[in-house]
Symmetry: C2
Subunit: 467 residues, 2 copies
Amino acid sequence: MNLLDALGAVLDPPGLLTGAADLAPYLDDPITRARGEAVAVARPASTEAVAAVMAAAAAHGAHVTARGGGTGFVGGAVPGPGQPAIVLSLERMRRIRAVDAVGATMIAEAGVALAAAREAADAAGLQLPIVHGGAGSATIGGTVATNAGGLNVVKYGMARQHVLGLEVVLADGRIWHGLRALRKDNAGYDLKQLFIGTEGTLGIVTAAALALAPRPLARATALAAVASPEEALTLFGLLRRRLGDLVAACELIPRSALELHFARRPEARDPFATPHGYMVLLEVESPAEALDLEPLAEAALAQALEADIAVDVIVARSERERAELWALREGLAEAQATDPRVLKSDTAVPVAQTAAFVAEASRAVEALMPGAVPVPFGHIGDGNIHFNVLAPAAMATEDFLAHKARLAASIAEVSVALGGSIAAEHGIGRDKRDLLATVRGGVEHDLAAALKQALDPAGRLNPGKVV
Amino acid sequence: MNLLDALGAVLDPPGLLTGAADLAPYLDDPITRARGEAVAVARPASTEAVAAVMAAAAAHGAHVTARGGGTGFVGGAVPGPGQPAIVLSLERMRRIRAVDAVGATMIAEAGVALAAAREAADAAGLQLPIVHGGAGSATIGGTVATNAGGLNVVKYGMARQHVLGLEVVLADGRIWHGLRALRKDNAGYDLKQLFIGTEGTLGIVTAAALALAPRPLARATALAAVASPEEALTLFGLLRRRLGDLVAACELIPRSALELHFARRPEARDPFATPHGYMVLLEVESPAEALDLEPLAEAALAQALEADIAVDVIVARSERERAELWALREGLAEAQATDPRVLKSDTAVPVAQTAAFVAEASRAVEALMPGAVPVPFGHIGDGNIHFNVLAPAAMATEDFLAHKARLAASIAEVSVALGGSIAAEHGIGRDKRDLLATVRGGVEHDLAAALKQALDPAGRLNPGKVV
């Protein structure tokens, strides 16, 4: 029996795609333009079916690349080298198996859209505090496999913090039933960690037990104009000292990012009367309903104005005003997402080095490509500034594309020199695999290789990615 | 060259103990009465020395048991079977290498006392929110290796949540330099997870990069009398819905525990005029200094009284009153800690099952040992009720000791049947290793064994513990 027959024996008709037209969307990544080859796309609808697919793949030496929502930024969901390869899409495992409002937990299958999981948590009077741009079609499986970050990490942490347990199908087709919904569990090794953030290279996540957080019932949103990233970092420090863990988001917005947004959305208005070099979008929230957070936020920002840390402040006075402020932040990300003239970057540095990172990366980029426009925006509260770069106005797009890798490498170098990471939240995938080997070689690489050898000795799970 | 010579060549004189009297304290565990054998205690004062010790141990096939403060509850720091064995004490690695108040991180060596780390964080205007009974002599290394829990897990999570990076010496003596202080880092596998909560069986933690939290500047403490664990759980739910993540501690106190405390401390007073079957100690805190939490806590508790969830409430009005309430909670734990007539238990269940667990465990214990007194106390907010058991008044201590294992097994069985864990926070060590193999066998055991094989193929790191 060949591989396709073996898959056909364990999948229902909708569960197996083999025609070129059906396969195409799974082999082409519009974000990174990565392309891959596969003989089939398996779309099992149950954990048992996933296990059967994995067993068949093992028996036939097939490589398996798992796929969630296909919203990743590093080409992780497109098959790497090596045939025969199959894509294992979790799209038909879309059941939210349980929501426990008393215990504040949820069990969701891998194919559940993050947006759907967030809605279900909200309906139960709670929240799943993972918020990022891909949330429309990003799935729980991908969220877990990439240890997704987002806008609220400064308060809630990464996806890892919300995973209580996992159900995973291993390379050999066995199922690890680790779907426990316990907030405390020190009974043996914490095996779920093997499958969080490891991008489908050690096992296939089929379901997750998630911790839900209290829903924010009090909230305030504000925008502060600052002169530079140094002041933005100082502002964050002030807010953190005065407001502590009420700070749920703190986002740096440079003028260059705003202008990309305005170019795309001419109807958008500058929030301040005067253009400013940088702005910081702040959101504080608390699940305690009785709290009035506006006065608290205002008082903290007033102190910032008095100390000349901020030069102007807008506090949202209504849900509409809040939405407008967030539309800026979301718009500037969207404006860059598919623009080939913008290099996307995802590094992290220790929070205290954030301003130094922006300064040094700017110098490095200018030295390499005079006239390139830095677009450093993002999560100033957790050290993850996306140091994007807009091509010089006079440079042809093809020339810019040819130089992207060098630009990216120099930005990564700056971040590493400051004690940072070459991949803050988007992961490694295929795109950063070689770079990872150079910056985290030696013992680190050996440990990772040992894990890979232990869980996937034949190297069939998402080959060419991460390790 | 033999093992002792090899160790002598890499350690300074204070760093190597070989005499029986010097070794004795390291081979005897007063808490569990575990005993072990070793040919030497190595006390290296630097990471390089630890690496040299591990290399020497590897060359001579020596087993190595790491030791921190020796405050663990499962006999993990006493050498297991197999000779030659050495104890590797991290007690001389006591340096706090760095505190970054801007970035809110700390780098502390493994031998730093948790109390010292907490003081240093406090001095920097921040907090290391790991709070438990052993904090006097518990160390950072042990805290990481056991993934310590404690009183504030309901708000801050376990030790794992606070570890940003680690420096680890592996079985072969190589050093993994993973001491990164990043809040976001998805560059490859999260290798630090291999050494958190794995109790020294996969590597020796020599230093940790820790995330510090904002210091609580607003706080309120209260004690509520409730009729039963069911009401206690309902109360927790009410508090969580109204106060959200302001809830920093929520502790169940049964009358039986209070009486053990009063027996030991006759000067202690019952906080309420009427004795109550159960009480819940609540603490809310916020790092936002401007918040007045007393009215918030009072309003929530008033609602509880109105709804007949609580029958009486005391709100601490001063630091002294707060200290008195906490003295009760700490006293009841101390009263039981070294009492051989009290079986200590450390299971967890899904939060929603907490009351059911207390009820069913009580039934199971009564059936096995009529007259035994349940002492179910602890962390009602995270499902970790320590279902301790006091021997029947008429039973001789020796008889009780002979039956402890059966009692413990039946309590563990109840918790597992409710979807729980046999080791909520204290870990597995030697004491629960066999039980772990039975409740988490199969694929789970195979995965753990694969990790052990990958990192410690010769099985020399803390043998006889965990896996």
